[in-house]
Each structure stands twice: as structure tokens, then as C-alpha cells.
């Protein structure tokens, strides 16, 4: 079994998103290591992009800072390789807008990611209609493409989205952009149950999760819990805050 499948088979994993290079490359790396040491199971490595149109203010601002600090996709891949060398078992997913991938070349980027020990790619702006162009090179190099499902996705489309995919399904809890919310919408469990009627893949829930309570609610409904903006915010405060944030979410999941 591949790494991601193994992780989901063993437990309900905590998936942590980080905007690589924020606030600095060094602090980000320490925060990611601290999160893994605390028990985070999968890390989504966010590639900063000049035009993060699916992101809320926290991650959008973090992207801008990371870019000003000189972060690039090549450096994110090197970052991933360092994390992989230190943590053979953690799941690593590249979270990216399409343009940096297209610019480096899909074949090239997939080969480099596989060599760095990355498990998959989560392309933010690549829906079902366009995914074929990235799917072929990703498969060739043994990378998952993580499909996204939103609360607005109708059931027949869910069936098409999950068809033939590997890894896990990312369920977006709320229609909108990334960022913490006060509480999860009440229909998360219902949507995830619907997705699971069409796939045996695990379904992880993300968007708006930044507290033990929200993590608990998400873990009740889903096979895994994803948190982004909250971790990014904590990382900018200190490595300790990032570790404590991770620990809080883990308390909610257990």
C-alpha cells in the first residue's frame, strides 16, 4: 500500500496546510517539523502564488510574504525533500495553483516531486473538466491527484470526480475561500456520506477548521481533518504556537 492509503487505514489523520516560506523558510520548516513531532500525519505544502484567488486573507497574505522572501516551486520541492529525509512516514501533498506547475512543465514537476518523496498534488484550480493534462504525468510518476468536492457539487458530478482517483478526497466544508469560521455547517456529514456512496477512498474535510471543537466535529463526519489558515497564523507567531495549535486540533480529533 502507498503511504497515504496506509495513513488513512491506520487512523483519522490530521492534515496540516502550510504556506511554504511563511513567515520565513526557516521558521516554516521548524513549524512543520514541530507539527509532525506533535502528531500531524499529512502535510500540505502550499506553493505561494501571486494570485491566490481561492484563498482567504490569511493564506493570501502569507503567499505574498513568502514570495517576497524569494520562495519558488523549486524551493518548495527542496523543502519537501528535507522533510521527507527526516520523516519517512509522514504524508506529503503539494498544494498548488496550476500556473507554477505549468510553468515548470507537468512532466518535469511530477518527476521532481516523486524524486523528493512527495505523495501527491492537490491542484486548486484544476476541476474535472481540465484534469486530464496533469493526471497522466502524475500517474506516470506514482503521484496522487487529490480531487476536491464542494458543498455545491451535485451527486452525479461527485461520481465523475471520484472515478478512478487515488489517495483521498478533499471535501471543502463551505462554499467560499480558505479561512477559519466559527462553526462547521450542519450538512458536512450528509455530504460526506453522499461522497462515500460513490467511492471507497477516504474523505477528509477542510476549510474553516481552527479549533479543537471544529476538528472534533469534522472528525466525526469525515475520515480525516484538514486545517490551513489557523496553522499558518500560528506559524507566524512562533514555532511553539504552531506546535500548540497542532496539539489542540489533535485533542479535538481524539
Amino acid at each position: 500500500m502507498d503511504r497515504i492509503t496506509n495513513i488513512f487505514a491506520a487512523k483519522k489523520p490530521l492534515v496540516i496546510f502550510t504556506s511554504v516560506g511563511y513567515p520565513t523558510e526557516e521558521q516554516c520548516e521548524k513549524a512543520v517539523c514541530a507539527a509532525i513531532d506533535k502528531g500531524a500525519d499529512i502535510i500540505e505544502l502550499g506553493v505561494p502564488f501571486s494570485d491566490p484567488m481561492a484563498d482567504g486573507p490569511v493564506i493570501a497574505a502569507a503567499s505574498q510574504v513568502a514570495l517576497q522572501g524569494g520562495m519558488t516551486l523549486n524551493k518548495v520541492i527542496a523543502f519537501a525533500a528535507r522533510i521527507r529525509a527526516r520523516y519517512p512516514k509522514v504524508g506529503l501533498i503539494l498544494f498548488s495553483y496550476m500556473n507554477p506547475l505549468l510553468h515548470l512543465g507537468y512532466e518535469n514537476v511530477c518527476a521532481q516531486l516523486a524524486a523528493a518523496g512527495v505523495d501527491g498534488i492537490l491542484p486548486v484550480d484544476l476541476p474535472l473538466e481540465e484534469r486530464e493534462e496533469l493526471l497522466a504525468p502524475a500517474r506516470k510518476h506514482g503521484l496522487h491527484i487529490i480531487p476536491l468536492v464542494s458543498p455545491l457539487t451535485p451527486e452525479e458530478r461527485v461520481a465523475q470526480i471520484v472515478e478512478g482517483m487515488t489517495g483521498f478526497v478533499y471535501y471543502i466544508n463551505v462554499a467560499g475561500v480558505t479561512g477559519a469560521r466559527n462553526e462547521l455547517p450542519p450538512d458536512v456529514a450528509e455530504h460526506i456520506a453522499m461522497i462515500k456512496r460513490h467511492t471507497s477512498l477516504p474523505v477528509a474535510a477542510g476549510f474553516g477548521i481552527a479549533s479543537a471543537e471544529a476538528a472534533h466535529a469534522a472528525a466525526t463526519a469525515a475520515d480525516g481533518v484538514i486545517s490551513g489558515s489557523g496553522f499558518v497564523k500560528a506559524t507566524s507567531e512562533s514555532v511553539e504556537a504552531a506546535a500548540e495549535f497542532t496539539a489542540e486540533l489533535l485533542r479535538g480529533i481524539k
Binding site: 502564488f49 501571486s50 494570485d51 491566490p52 484567488m53 481561492a54 484563498d55 482567504g56 493570501a60 505574498q64 514570495l67 519558488t72 516551486l73 523549486n74 495553483y97 496550476m98 500556473n99 507554477p100 506547475l101 505549468l102 510553468h103 515548470l104 486548486v124 484550480d125 484544476l126 476541476p127 474535472l128 473538466e129 481540465e130 476536491l148 468536492v149 464542494s150 455545491l152 457539487t153 451535485p154 458530478r157 470526480i161 471543502i172 463551505v174 462554499a175 467560499g176 475561500v177
Partner: protein, 400 residues
Amino acid sequence: MNTHYGIYGGQYVPETLTGALRELEKTYLAAREDLAFRAELNDLLVHYVGRESPLYYAKRLSEHLGGARIFLKREDLNHTGAHKINNTMGQALLAQRMGKKKLIAETGAGMHGVATATVAALFGMECEIFMGSVDVARQAPNVDRMHALGATVRSIDEGGATLKDAMNAALRVWASCSDTTFYLIGTAAGPYPYPMLVKDFQSVIGKETRKQCLEMCGRLPDEVVACVGGGSNAIGMFAGFEDTPEVLRVGVEAGGLGIATGQHAASINGGKVGILHGMKAYFLQDENGQMLDTYSVSAGLDYSGVGPEHCYLADQKLARYVVANDDEAIAAFDALCRYEGIIPALESSHALAYAIREAPKHDKDHIIVVNLSGRGDKDMDNIRKYREVISKRLSKCAST
């Protein structure tokens, strides 16, 4: 439906927006075949917008240049002062059909913002316009017009704070409220079906031009010219001449301070294939695939991408894409004011600059039609500032 133009176009959007795009496509494809929809749109274009817009022979300018005859397609005479309303009227009717309560739009020069605020007022809809803070400052008269029409103007400070950033902000907001809100894209860009919609609603420009030129000159023009930012007025003009390869179609991009300086907005002439705003197209970007901020004296052309069909037409050499720099556009602006008594928008002045450059190379049997996409009232402040900068530079040169 074919959602691509060669390799360009497509629907590169987050999953959350795909449903809204499907709903829009479905509504539009049905409306397009509906005689009542077309009649309603046509009636509004005639009685509200003031179509058809004249084709005018710029005799004094042509004689001054001493070559080709230059004709102007007077989109500046439309209600709201630009071609933008052809499209906002069509899309607002679609929004009505879909039962949406609110219109949101991005705007650069503010002409699309004004045209959107106008149709929102006309149909009694709520309206919010996203505009980069740089553009809010340099297009203040249009911000006032939007306010007067009852729209909210949201000033966007991210990135270069121009059109690209306004579009990011509009897309973000749309993702959370697409059930009640219609995103009215103003340029021939964005995810499918927008490029198709905008082209269809703007094609009235090309169709009228073709008919008018035949009536006035007894033949088709040799060249049709339009400025290209995202490319809505150009694609509308080009649409009238798709089956006539003998008519050269020319798009003029904003060269800013010159392509070599990097300070420009010429995506086709100076960009690479990329993905943003839901489409694959040419974008100005750095060596790491990050989008670059653009520069042009004209806010309406200040966009790092360009509509997907233009990319296809450029690759296939079905249309020609050239560049006019700031200084050429300003000179063309002056020439039209002085020789014809027409104050053109700085955007349209780029298309004029090409015609002024080319006309002397031909004789008077050569007909060039320039799409005068908008009027220049909004630009008076920019023109004054531009002249101040130049005169400072000149006096510096003189004193050293």
C-alpha cells in the same frame, strides 16, 4: 460545447465555481436560441444604448496623414461612453433570467464598472464593483459615476492593485455567493463560457461595421483595428470579419514604456502561456510562474493576461497583434482631438496610434477602420499628469 480555442481557454477554476459556470452556460445557450431574449436585447440596444453607432470617415485626420482613409467605429457614442455596455446589457438580461439579485464586476478603467452599475440601476439590482486602488485613484471620475448610479465600489489593495487583482477579489466573493449573485465579466477572458458570451454580445460592433463599410465605401475595409487588454472590443470587431481573410484584423497591445523595459501590458507580444482567472492564455509572468504586475498609461489595457481566442488567433496568424507605447497613444489622442474634435479614451488611442503609423504607407484606396471603443473624458487627469512628467523630464534635460 467546445470550451477551448486550440489549447487556450477552458475552465481552470476551483470546484466551488464550476456549478455557477454550468448554470450560466445552460442559461445562455437557451437564451441565444430564444427569439424573445434576442428581441428584448435588441430593443434595449437601440433605444437605451443608442445603437447602431456610426461609422465615421475621419477625413481631416486622413488627409493630414496623406495616405489611407481612416474610419472610426464610434462606440464612444454609446450610452455610458464605451463599448462595454453591449456586453453588460446582455449579461444583465441573463442574470435576470437566472433570478439573481446582485451583480458584481471587476473594472480597470472603470468603463465596465460604470456600464455594470448602469444596467444594475436599469433593472433594479444590487451592484458591487471591484477595482484596484491604483485604478480608483487614476479613474476617479468613473468611481464617482458608479457611486451616483448606486453601486458600491470596493477598492482592492493586493498585488499591483489593478485589473488582475480586482478580478481575483471578485472571484473570491463570487465563490461564496454564486447562488444569489451574478458575476458580470467585462472582458473576453475568464473561464468558459465568459469568453464566448462576451464575444457574442460584442459582435454587434463587427457586424455593424461590415454593413456600414459596404454601404459607405461599396466594399469591405482592408484592415480593422482595435486595442487589446483582455480583448473585448477587439474580439467584437473581429467577429464581423471571420469569414473574410482578406480583411486584416489587427489588435494593438499596450507597450507602456516599451517591451524591452518590462514596463508594459502586452501579453501576446511579451508573455508566455499560463493559467489564471479560469483560463489558459498568454500572461506576463516571471521565471517562476508568478504573474507580473503590468504597466500602461491606460488603465483599461493594464491587465497581465488576454482572452483565449486572441491567443489562438495570434498563434494561427489569423489576426495580427502589434504594440503601441504610451507616447504613441498620447500622440494619437492629441491628433484625434485636434483634427477631428473627438476626445478618445486612452485605450482606443492605442488602436489609433497603429492607424496613424500605418496610414502614410498606403494610398487613399486603402481603408482602415479603427474601433473607437470609448471616449476620453475619464482620462483628462491622466493626460495632464503625463504631460507634467514629460515637461519635467524635458526641463531636466535642458538644464543638464
